[in-house]
């Protein structure tokens, strides 16, 4: 298990926390005072626990063992998530494929992997801790959907992707997993738009962040400390 002080966010060198609440100068000069409000807010949500789980969905022993360990049944419907579950940890389970899921926790990935491994002992299943493979970029705001649409081929219309749904796709040619956390009228969307968590591979994180930052300039960008 990695010591927490050794963990290093792939976006740490960008100093995002220091730039939090900054509004890009572009929109301040370009638009009227009424429009000066940022259309998009972005921030990094690093250090999440990610556990990849593979196993036979529909197998009673597998389903019940996982449900017991997580406190929530695995999502079977494509592109959906489940959670937070009965246990107190606010985990979320993403459907990735017909026999593949992610367990996303705000806490300790290796501990979650151990918990699943113990629960699934002797079964035909695979549990892999992939916490260090990705970071999460949180995007919200009135123009968040427009921003993602610039680089993502998914249909982001609310009838296709709404709060609680997830999808793996590309954003600006980088492989991402997208999780919509809030609908347009959701409480957490203070900027009045939808909210998304974008999980991106560490090696693509800086590229994608800079791409998003550039793409968000026309809407006005506010950087948040998550």
């Amino acid at each position: 298990m990695g010591d927490s002080f050794l963990r290093h966010s792939p976006l740490a060198h960008l100093g995002l926390a220091a730039r939090a609440t900054e509004v890009s100068e572009f929109e301040a000069t370009k638009f009227e005072a009424d429009d000066a409000e940022a259309g998009v807010a972005m921030g990094e949500r690093p250090y999440r626990g990610l556990v990849n789980l593979r196993g036979p969905a529909g197998d009673k022993a597998f389903d019940s063992a996982v449900e017991k360990a997580l406190g929530v049944a695995l999502p079977i419907e494509p592109n959906t998530t489940a959670g937070p579950g009965k246990n107190k940890d606010s985990l979320r389970v993403f459907w990735l494929g017909p026999d593949e899921w992610w367990v996303v926790t705000p806490g300790d990935g290796p501990a979650m992997a151990d918990r699943l491994r113990t629960a699934l002992a002797g079964q035909k299943a695979a549990v892999t801790d992939v916490s260090e493979s990705r970071t999460c970029i949180h995007i919200r705001g009135a123009r968040a959907r427009d921003l993602l649409s610039k680089g993502c081929p998914l249909d982001l219309h609310p009838r296709m992707l709404s709060a609680g749904r997830c999808a793996q796709s590309l954003c600006a040619k980088a492989m991402v997993a997208l999780h919509q956390t809030e609908d347009d009228s959701g409480d957490g969307a203070k900027e009045g738009g939808p909210a998304y968590d974008v999980y991106v591979l560490n090696s693509f994180a800086e590229y994608l962040w800079l791409w998003l930052e550039d793409a968000a300039r026309e809407y006005g960008l506010r950087i948040t400390a998550e």
Partner: protein
């Protein structure tokens, strides 16, 4: 740009997929007994047909699952999608010269 109906994820953009060539090409049961010409025929030679082709695709940037498509190589129309191991569906005959 094609809109490809992944049998697991639904309709997605072509950029999320990778192409796997013609489907239902069986590996010879006894490769050692084949002549070089027969082996080359298995490895390289494809009909390259004009019309409906049964082909393999993988949703490489989505669910990472393989599946089959029946696609018209002239119009690019997708006539059917079916999972690995399933029998190819009946598709209309094309009449190209």
């Amino acid at each position: 740009m094609l809109l490809i109906p992944c049998p697991y994820c639904g309709e997605r953009d072509e950029t999320e997929f990778s192409y796997g060539g013609e489907a239902h090409i069986e590996r010879p049961k006894d490769p050692e007994k084949l002549s070089d010409a027969e082996w080359a025929d298995y490895v390289f030679m494809r009909p390259n047909s004009k019309g409906i082709l049964l082909e393999r695709w993988v949703h490489s940037h989505g669910c990472r699952r393989w599946f089959n498509l029946a696609r018209d190589t002239v119009t690019y129309k997708i006539h059917a999608v079916y999972r690995m191991g399933e029998k190819p569906p009946r598709v209309p005959k094309t009449d190209y010269v």
